[in-house]
């Protein structure tokens, strides 16, 4: 086994399929590194995710322990982001507040992307009536105002993280279906797909083995661009009191917590909201950069 050297990765004559794949991945990663917008987004999202994972190791105050004698303290050395109406440390609550948001984003994408991609690929590959029915269905779900529908679902099912995830995921899949359908419809006419079909490959095999892998990159770019919307909807649900129930820290709910005392204690509202913005912007930069890289015109 030869070492993972740069020349091994970048060779134009790979000796094995594995080498070719790893090499391709490496080349793509190098292009990501060369795109400042992409890198900025990656660093913002990556550091927030990392921070969320190592949180228990950090010397932070307990995000839920109340200390009423220290309530509404302005930012200081002991409480860099100040304290809230119940004397809880705003820094700890803001950092811990990333958890529910990231979990919701991850779950919604894990639910919506595969469903959307499968539906879109099936519609594009099979064509005809299947195509028309599936696309009308996606039109239907796309014509819904996402936030308002999520509010209605969450209002009926009650407060909670699972409800919020479900409510957001239901309207999440159509964009992926549309993108994938457009791509699958072009691949369907490609020679290698027709060759596979002539060799007797089943529709399912054509779909899963030949067409789907080619549709994934654009779906992933779309996912990065979709993530900020999910962040904002979940924060909006939290703000309206439909997110994770208290006392678990969540950004939207924290912004709402500080609302009553906004004019006296700006820090309770300001910091969690700033983190919503940072995470959303990180995802947006990442997605925008990836889209540039995926666009063959640029």
């Amino acid at each position: 086994m030869r070492a993972l050297t740069r020349s091994w990765l970048l060779t134009s004559e790979p000796e094995s399929a594995l080498q070719a794949r790893v090499g391709l991945l490496y080349r793509r990663l190098r292009r990501v590194r060369g795109n400042p917008i992409c890198m900025a987004g990656l660093i913002m999202v990556g550091s927030l995710v990392l921070l969320t994972i190592i949180l228990p190791l950090l010397p932070l105050a307990d995000p839920v322990s109340q200390a009423l004698e220290h309530r509404l303290q302005a930012p200081s050395f002991t409480h860099p982001f100040g304290t809230d109406t119940l004397g809880r440390d705003v820094l700890a609550r803001t950092l811990y507040g990333a958890r529910p948001t990231l979990v919701i984003v991850a779950f919604v994408l894990l639910a919506a992307v595969p469903v959307g991609v499968l539906i879109g690929a099936a519609a594009g590959l099979l064509g005809g009536v299947t195509d028309r029915v599936l696309m009308r269905l996606s039109d239907l779900f796309m014509a819904f105002p996402r936030l308002v529908l999520a509010i209605a679902v969450a209002a009926v099912l009650g407060q909670g993280m699972v409800t919020a995830m479900l409510a957001i995921a239901v309207t999440g899949w159509p964009p992926y279906a549309r993108i994938t359908r457009a791509e699958a419809a072009t691949w369907r006419r490609a020679e290698f797909v027709q060759a596979a079909e002539a060799l007797g490959a089943s529709k399912a095999r054509l779909l899963l083995r030949h067409v789907l892998p080619l549709c994934l990159p654009s779906a992933l770019v779309r996912a990065a661009l979709d993530a900020p919307g999910i962040v904002l909807i979940s924060a909006g649900l939290g703000f309206l009191g439909l997110g994770v129930p208290p006392p678990t820290p969540e950004w939207g709910a924290s912004v709402a917590d500080g609302r009553v005392v906004m004019f006296d204690a700006w820090w309770i509202t300001t910091f969690p909201g700033l983190f919503i913005l940072l995470l959303g912007l990180g995802f947006n930069l990442l997605g925008d950069g990836l889209r540039d890289l995926a666009d063959p015109r640029s």
Binding site: A143, A155, V156, T269, G273, L281
Partner: protein, 354 residues
Amino acid sequence: MRAGLGQEPRPARVRARRWLVAMLTHVATTALMLFGLLFVTFAIGRLLPMDPVLVIVGEHATPEAYQRVFHQMRLDRSVPAQFGLYLSDMARGDFGVSISTGSPIGSDLARFFPATLELATIGMIIGIVAGLPLGVVCARYAGRAADHAGRVFALLGHSMPVFWLGLLALLVFYARLGWVEGPGRLGVTYQYTVSEVTGLVLVDTLLSGDWAAFRDAVAHIVLPGGLLGLIAVGTVARMTRGFLLFQMRQDYVTVLRLKGLSESAILWRHALPNAFGPFFAVLAWTYAYLLEGAVLTETVFSWPGLGLYIAQSLFSGDIPAVLAGTLVVGVTFMALNVMGEAAQTAFDPRQRGA
């Protein structure tokens, strides 16, 4: 339906038939989507994990009262029958009675809707007036500093939690600087002197002829309207830029360049009109998006629109009112999308005479 070069123009009869088929498909699709929307709001209402009768009559109701409400809510009918009756109710504009306000939900919605419309419209106007030129500038200097600045601005707008920015704006411009008025649509002094005619506060204060009242209304709407406008500016600019760059790659632009026209003249006089089709589609789409964004903005600014109505009904557990509000926002959203699509076709120069 692009007519290729050297092709005979299609006879009028064929064109008319195609147009009719296209229109009918359009109408059928829209009707189907409306039906789907109604089905979803109905289904959400049926998902209620608790007993909907208990919510209304309370835990200590007599069995007779329980039975009466059970019958009134048609829970003794089959589910398809319930859905059918729900459809006919909606067609007549009968949304039921709000548990929290005690008045018919339909009249509640009619009272709250103009405020949302006004807010979203102001946001849209700001979005077009600022976003369109910004988009043209970004396209003109694509890949340069101005373009990057426009891009970051648009991305910021897409990542911005409106409710948070609204609170900060209230803190800075209302509480600290005192430049604008705070929550609500109109100061207490004018609340009873200005009579409601259109439900749009800017128009009503103008009609009352009281300039101080109009100024007060402007001072109230400037913050929430400007906030929504800020979000629209990014989207409109970004989309305008994209459409223009697509146009600038077309052959006719090369011809215009060869003729010696300046870049600005090509952009404003030739590329921009050709980009109007998709542009109008995006406007409709942005407008629909603003309508949705208004839900959270209204909550922050106590703006008495649909969003505040939905939020307040939410807090008082008034599910029928929440669902009716959802339906109205959904129908408006859908109508705007359909209008956007129609505008896109109408303004597409390739569709002329097709």
